[in-house]
Amino acid sequence: MKKYLLLGVLAVAPLTHAATGVAFVHGTGSQTDALNDYWTTDFVNSVRQGLPNSSKFTVINCDFEQYMWTDGAAGCLAGQLQQFIANESIDSLTLVTHSNGGNVVRWILSNPTWDARYPNIINATDNVIALAPSSGGTPLADAVVNGNAFEQLLGWILGYANDAVKQQQVSWMSYYNNTWLHGTSGRPSLAVNFETVVGSDVDSAFWDGDSYCGGYSNQVALETTQNWLDSCSDGFLNCSSQSAAGSVWFVDKQKTRGREPLSHQQSRRDCFHLDRFIRDRL
């Protein structure tokens, strides 16, 4: 169907060239320079080498402290993707997401009638590579949000109890998965391939150089937070949450160099050849 439509477009606009592109979609947080502050140039530059034309990439900067469906979150993402698709004539888009970015993308893919911009984005998207997506929420979000009524009213002041954190509480994600989001068990499938990379452990041995990829102090803290999580977790998300939607591409140790686990910090860095696996997947 798509090829048929493209022929029609070429007939009237022969100078238009379709292209393959990749967009990097960050996780929870309000980003203005996600390339440097969330991803790294090393990671992004490595991944985009897998494109036929490595200039066809974009790094999304949106406010993912808001609920996924808001104008600041999915609305902003839709605007930036729409512009990228139009400006670069993208007809085959891969979205590389991390953490809660997977939920915002799943919102768009699952709710095409919410916003008139969504259908074209869905049609241009071929694949989502979801790095450690928080598809089933995290008990850590519950731990952060549990508080008194007064501060619930002050989430915007406190910062930590932002709407995106609330949304990622386990029972909240259960509601969204069962009502508004596709791709989890028993729910309609996502029409776009949504393949996940699952982080299964945190390694923080100070004598092991691998513990320093992504920052050593982060690794130590993630080991503490594992007390709220299952034995299989990346320090922020249970493996069951990361694999709740779509299909599992691989669990870290199945592919990583030296069978190293990918903590939640490391799954957005060029640690243990993760960047190469994604590059080869484009």
Partner: protein
């Protein structure tokens, strides 16, 4: 994946026209069980008010444009399992305390060795201005087990301060103590040495990872205003009658204490004071249980989220189908609304295969602004996809779902087949 492409229909096909009110029928939500819940013996009783009510406040989605979308499907049709309930399982508890209480020392029930204790500084706005409590350094926290020969330092295995926890996602000004594996279950005393603001608010969170004493709470995933809130509650390893306390945290962050009663194996929350106001957030039922099991003091907190909504619209009986060369192109449904708003209708179209079985052809969705009391939503069907499927009539609609995008609520979902005519 390419051959599973979606068809966007930018030409909007939702139409609005008058519909006879006496054609309206009620579509009951599918009642299905959640996957293997520990206390899932029978479905929770579900009630829904018959009358329509308009939500108040600002709608979440106020877009006026009509958008429709068709997703090609293939394979035999199987009804999706829609969970109407959610089960939360807790091996932890949390309590609110003041700085004065922490300086004086608080009793802390611990039923599991190697538990984790977290102290989080909170904010108090009761005076009208937010007062943020200071974080507590782990070194200032003392833990004692009265009557035990164990020294306080022997009770603690490791500590983490607020900066360390923040880097891992627990960015709420909290500190944590991991108890040693030799620290036995019992009633401990927790005290903070540094002088705290007496009125400052703190959260004490005791996480007993791996404890057999889990508290399970099963609630409906959504609750219409005016409906009864029934839920199930069970503490593992005990058959004792529980005396839980409860409150509802509403979508706007306010809280209401609720009275609980039990009958026929279910609990019921009374006077939950649902509002007609649209809120972006979900509501939560919070339950606290304190009891003794096998001579150990067990305290548990558990919560579960649900969508609070008003019954703002309903679909009528399926209307006429537009045909082209004996293939269906569109089908209409009357919709009755309490007030104007943005509504979404979706369904799966099926046909009959050579083996006489029902196969799916496509999923169709449409959303648009509906105003007036009786209108029609029109679903596009794509005759070409139907022809290519090779499937034969009767063509049926399945999984007919009505949503209110203004409230972000599912109003109805029916899997009863409706043959196109």
């Amino acid at each position: 994946m390419k051959n599973f492409k979606l068809l966007a229909l930018p030409v909007l096909t939702l139409s609005l026209s008058a519909a006879a009110a006496d054609n309206l029928i009620s579509l009951d939500p599918i009642e299905a069980r959640l996957t293997a819940g520990p206390i899932a013996l029978k479905p929770l009783p579900i009630s829904k008010p018959a009358e329509l009510t308009a939500p108040s406040g600002e709608a979440i989605n106020q877009r006026r444009e009509t958008v429709s979308f068709i997703t090609p499907l293939s394979g035999q049709y199987h009804a999706a399992v829609m969970a109407a309930e959610h089960t939360s399982v807790s091996d932890e508890y949390w309590r609110r305390v003041t700085g004065e209480e922490l300086n004086r020392g608080i009793g802390l029930n611990v039923s599991q060795s190697g538990s984790l204790i977290r102290l989080a500084a909170r904010v108090d706005n009761s005076s009208g201005a937010p007062v943020r409590a200071d974080s507590i350094a782990p070194a200032d926290i003392q833990l004692e087990l009265p009557g035990s020969k164990l020294q306080p330092q022997e009770l603690i295995r490791s500590q983490a301060d607020s900066q360390a926890l923040a880097t891992a996602g627990l960015a709420d000004n909290s500190s944590a103590l991991l108890m040693s594996r030799s620290a036995p279950p019992g009633q401990y005393k927790l005290k903070v040495k540094s002088i705290l603001n007496p009125n400052a608010q703190y959260l004490v969170n005791v996480k007993e990872k791996g404890s057999p004493y889990t508290l399970s709470l099963t609630t409906p995933t959504s609750l219409a205003t005016g409906a009864q809130m029934s839920f199930s509650l069970k503490l593992n390893k005990t058959s004792k009658a529980l005396k839980p306390s409860a409150f509802i945290r509403h979508g706007d962050g306010t809280e209401t204490k609720v009275a609980l009663s039990s009958a026929k194996g279910f609990w019921q929350a009374n006077n939950i004071q649902q509002s007609d106001e649209v809120t972006s957030g979900l509501s939560e039922l919070h339950i606290q249980v304190e009891t003794q099991v096998d001579g150990k003091p067990v305290t548990r907190s558990v919560k579960s989220a649900f969508k609070s909504y008003v019954n703002s619209a309903r679909l009528g009986a399926m209307g006429k189908t537009q045909w082209r060369k004996k293939l269906p192109e569109t089908v209409s449904f009357p919709i009755e609304v309490a007030d104007e708003g943005r509504f979404q209708l979706g369904a799966v179209l099926t046909g009959i295969g050579r083996n006489g079985r029902e196969f799916q052809i496509l999923k169709t969705e449409v959303a648009g602004w509906v105003s007036g009391k009786a209108q029609v939503l029109e679903l596009p069907l794509d005759a070409e996809l139907v022809r290519k499927s090779g499937l034969k009539p009767p063509y049926r609609l399945r999984a007919i779902e009505l949503k209110d995008q203004g409230q972000m609520a599912r109003l109805s979902l029916s899997d009863s087949p409706r043959s196109l005519r």
